[in-house]
Symmetry: D2
Subunit: 296 residues, 4 copies
């Protein structure tokens, strides 16, 4: 098995001015992750606007990302779906395309029903032979997974090797899960990286997030790996103003696409509708912050 | 324009024992609506498990339904989506396949934002030249549309000709909307038909629901059309025990598929996961009720 | 212990035209329950607008209800609260005032956390020595209690003797809970009585609901107790049009107060704000239905 | 009118080890705000656990806070309620006790209904003659107030002089509201102060938050008032790691009480149940962060 430990860049899906998938911007985004020394990329997550893509577009994006990765970074493909059959089908397709792992949030259920959630993951685990990253993001999925349930997923389903933890407050949940699962489950942070330092301190194995300067997160991670928590904290705190700014509710995706455009990695910062977008005042505020941090 | 006034049968999507779309059961379901003297059928709604179908399956189902209808009943195709581009694309595809109308609920938005909802419908109205049935079902969409907003949709978007009203209590909302829109907007009930009599009394033009005996709803509707409210009420109340029973939260779809199976119209009552299903005790309770009402 | 088995009338809290608690209307409401041969009354529930009463008003209402009951009917007092300390304090006060039982829904929690819900009930069980009726009403409380959790409450907390089940679909949940708890937990229906017949058939021990003609529910219950399910069903179905009508989402309380006013039991049908109220068209529709059912 | 512009300390309600209101800890908390040079204190907000206090406890707390303030700081009293009558009664009581202003979030409504929200504020505005601070906190109230609605409240209700804005992303909403209301509405930030710098840059008049070192926020505010945005940003970013840490979802209150205990201002860090509390690992993590920032 290929270990996923490290920093993963959550890729946005690029669109052109008319809202079509801009496949030709994908190589530059993968290259960003490679140059940043990321362990991998993740496509078709919330950041990738997966829920606003048709099946054909999803396949186009994941196929191209995998092709561009050329083994330089791992590729985790989001396959969360509103139904078990779709999730399985998408996961199998990801395997066929050559994905390193799949990332899956629970399908929405009318009522909190952990048995149904378990069956959903079980169906997926039976269908794929690559690692499953369980996404614990109740704000999006409306499913709350207690620590004991996450441990059960890990213990009973061999393919469940990782967790993407986005159920705040994340630091105590990292500790509580590690207590039950030890080294058998790798835990990634998310949520824009706003608690990266604390998550790593408590034993998280990396993060999967769309912060537009993944190289900064990689350096924080490397300091932690080299047992230099002081240097990690210093670096993390230095860029915290931006990490916080980019993680703003609703407009986070729009902000990141704007940064990636400024970095020359996207030709167009468009997000699909309905979605919140930033206005000119916010764009300037963002630019001033980037300038103050000497980020280009 | 073809008027949609009347009773529409919300079609379930048939699956076989392994969970695959059972295309061959579609003709019998369409025939049920034709024999019941329904005005039309509606496919790919909540009842049709649209959110648990792949794009290819959705196209397969709507294509086959339209083909089988052969002009005997209208076909309204559900094209609700989580994004504007998808909804437009699905609606255009429905037009191409020969749909009579499209039914569309608002895309989910993180925050109640009626301007975004308007833009969503505007994009759809620009893309299709057949009637749009706006589905007002806040329990599913998490979007609450005030009466004044619905009137605005009707007034500013020519294609918005109908409303499927599923925002309880529906009777007063029918009256409130009619006051603003008069004859320019046709209002359908839904929600299993539990308030069909009151909705029609207040000026609704029909209903779109999956009740498994649409012929009963047609007879109620016909009595109302012929100004025989007493007969309509008597008939409606006679079958209200079942109408109420089938409309149970969570298991409504499973109950209806069970009835359709008993009627010989479905080979398999399976619903896709994750979803609530009825157990044997409930199946027997359902059967006893059908027997008591002398329904076969 | 006094058994609560039977029909309980959920009392509305009467207000005068200016919105003040109209204490003098309480005796007539209690008398309605007594004359209807109800087993008991329940005050300070959702129907009693408990969340819109001050602490002093709550005490006034429950004290007066208990005083008027004079042992003719049991009095169950709603003591649901947004915090454990308040719930305990209100429950202790209910004991002091002479309540037969307390009815308590879980306090809202930011995230589904059944351990916190258990501790809440445990604190209450330690503080009172009268039966606790656990209210399972996720639509109001936002807490979903699985069958196994309800069984645990019953098994570990001696005072938890009853459940008010309002988590639809209720019939299968009655059966599932009975399978785990047998005779050790009495299950009441609610939700306006719309599934009273099915609930009793499956072993529920009564219902607690605000339907404005509790005498009808008592007759249905008596037929079931005397093993006359056919007569029970016939009677239940006869009045189902009204049971359904009164149970309408949002306006149910306003409708019931209107019926009670028409019956001469309330001087004023006012509900406290913010709340939905019925308009004149709806009032007339209600009146026509009462006339058709020959209810005065 | 006394202007509220500036930094306000959101006071926690102190409890003793048994969960009783610890009135004797109130003076030290008020003194903290005075020494920090805060413009005012706010009691009985979410931070004050208002929803878990009885009416008597609420009155005890607000009465004591006002007494201790002795005109040295303004006192804004939270009077949000689940019903209009209660909210009015609590607001009138706050006036009688000598409050400078009242802070009020919308009462929860079953469905987004801005007319009902307006009526709620209108009732309050008719009953009090002190400034009303409208709290815009959809995560707690489940009511989303569009910019145009907030402007309407300000324009039509004379007492509505301030807004506490906690609907993220807050910076663009500050700008959008200012565009409509100009100087007629003072806008406060909240949410732990995580966007204090941006909010002030865009014209907010201060913040009301429970950050346990209000003196830091005061210094940031003063730099902004003296047109020293560079110094304000530098100071703000220096303490951002802690501002972010304290603002963690669910445990924010517990963290702040822990800090205040460490500062010697609270004897006990207990929060009322049900609520999330920090564990020992988190306490130590917090302490290390305080040490790193040289905060005592």
């Amino acid at each position: 098995m290929i270990g996923l430990e490290g920093i993963h860049f959550m890729m946005p899906t690029p669109f052109d001015e008319r809202g079509k998938v801009d496949e030709e911007s994908i190589p530059a985004l993968v290259d960003l992750a490679v140059k940043a020394d990321c362990r991998g990329v993740v496509c078709l997550g919330v950041m990738g606007e997966a829920s606003r893509l048709t099946d054909a577009e999803s396949r186009l994006v994941s196929g191209r990302v995998i092709k561009e990765a050329r083994g330089r970074v791992t590729v985790t493909v989001g396959t969360s779906s509103t139904g078990t059959e779709m999730a399985v089908q998408r996961s199998v397709q990801a395997v066929d395309l050559g994905a390193t792992a799949v990332m899956v949030a629970p399908a929405p259920v009318a009522k909190q029903n952990l048995d149904a959630v378990f069956d959903y993951y079980k169906a997926m685990a039976s269908a794929v032979n690559i690692p499953i990253v369980v996404q614990d993001y109740p704000k999006e999925s409306n499913v709350f997974m207690p620590v004991s349930f996450i441990a059960r997923l890990c213990q009973e389903l061999e393919e469940v090797k990782y967790l993407k933890l986005e159920d705040p407050p994340t630091p105590p949940k990292v500790t509580a899960i590690k207590k039950l699962t030890g080294e058998s489950l790798g835990i990634f942070g998310g949520l824009g990286g706003t608690f990266l330092y604390e998550e790593l301190s408590r034993g998280a194995c990396g993060t999967m997030t769309g912060f537009a300067y993944p190289e900064i997160l990689v350096r924080v991670y490397n300091h932690m790996s080299q047992r230099e928590p002081g240097k990690a904290a210093e670096l993390f705190y230095r860029y915290l103003p931006l990490i916080r700014y980019e993680a703003q509710e609703g407009i986070g995706l729009s902000l990141r696409k704007e940064v990636l455009k400024r970095r020359g990695l996207l030709r167009c910062s468009r997000v699909r509708q309905p979605a919140a977008e930033i206005d000119e005042v916010t764009r300037q505020e963002l630019y001033r912050l980037l300038d103050a941090l000497e980020l280009t």
